[in-house]
């Protein structure tokens, strides 16, 4: 009986609500889009050929900016948002 309760508790801890999963996925999906873009248009990654470009083209590389935007969103916005979401939906969340 105790083992069953422990197992249920472990399942409840790992089960996330669809909203939790969707918010968690936004940043990684954005970064993935940037990565795919970089693979499709490698000439936009000017750091691969640094000698032929000036400062601005080396500083601003759109696929890397997309990855950066996804990362900032994921590491800055998402953790607090998920914590607030879990407080409001204790039955569904962690």
């Amino acid at each position: 009986m105790d083992a069953e309760l422990v197992q249920q508790g472990a399942q409840a801890r790992t089960r996330h609500s669809p909203r939790h999963t969707a918010v968690s996925a936004l940043g990684p999906l954005t970064a993935l889009a940037g990565l795919v873009w970089a693979l499709l248009q490698p000439y936009r990654i000017t750091i691969l050929d640094p000698d032929t470009h000036g400062f601005w083209y080396l500083a601003v590389q759109p696929p890397l900016l997309v990855i950066l935007a996804g990362a900032i969103f994921h590491f800055w916005i998402v953790p607090g948002l998920l914590a607030d979401l879990e407080r409001t939906e204790p039955g569904e969340g962690r």
Partner: protein, 192 residues
């Protein structure tokens, strides 16, 4: 050491991408959860306002004709107006809900500026196509935000609003894609 015009478009694209992600997250979790921390309520209005401020130097240093300059100043004023009004509403300084209508107004005026200042047809060039696409996206965004004013909790209108910002980002990333690093393009398209 001014950045090239396409770099400026891409930087604004990053701003719109970040705003779109925030609005999409707000739609998913709901406004009540999003506003549990007050700074999050101020986030997208203040970023919009800041982007409006940054549009002024763009207007001064990057426009080559009067109509181009006027269009950029309209976008600057629109973004600042919408951002400031939304900040006032979020803070509670503005109490009349009609202030929320500044958002559809800003999008409609911005869309009109895009379409009026682009004097060539859709397929004349990449820039012409993007100006038309951005203009109509802004006008559709105006209609969506009008719907959002009438039905603030509608998931359809909230999602549509976020997607408008993501569409802006995608279109801005495509804009002015004729820098020297894109030398494989046709010379007629600006490549080498």
């Amino acid at each position: 050491m001014e950045p090239p015009a396409e770099v400026v478009h891409w930087l604004f694209g990053v701003g719109f991408l970040f705003l779109g992600l925030c609005l999409l997250a707000e739609t998913i979790v709901g406004r009540s959860v999003w506003r549990r921390r007050s700074w999050r309520a101020y986030l997208w209005p203040s970023v919009t306002f800041a982007m409006g401020i940054f549009m002024w130097p763009v207007m001064v240093f990057y426009t080559s004709s009067a109509i181009h300059m006027l269009a950029h100043s309209v976008w600057a004023q629109s973004m600042m107006l919408a951002g400031a009004a939304q900040l006032g509403l979020a803070r509670g300084k503005l109490r009349n809900p009609l202030w929320a209508l500044t958002l559809p107004l800003a999008l409609a005026v911005s869309g009109g500026a895009f379409l009026i200042h682009e004097q060539n047809p859709w397929l004349f060039s990449r820039a012409a196509f993007l100006h038309h696409a951005l203009g109509w996206t802004a006008l559709v965004g105006g209609l969506i935000t009008l719907g959002l004013y009438a039905r603030p909790r509608s998931p359809v209108f909230n999602t549509g609003f976020a997607l408008v910002f993501l569409a802006f980002a995608a279109l801005l990333f495509c804009d002015r894609n004729v820098a020297p690093i894109f030398g494989h393009l046709s010379p007629l398209a600006g490549g080498r």
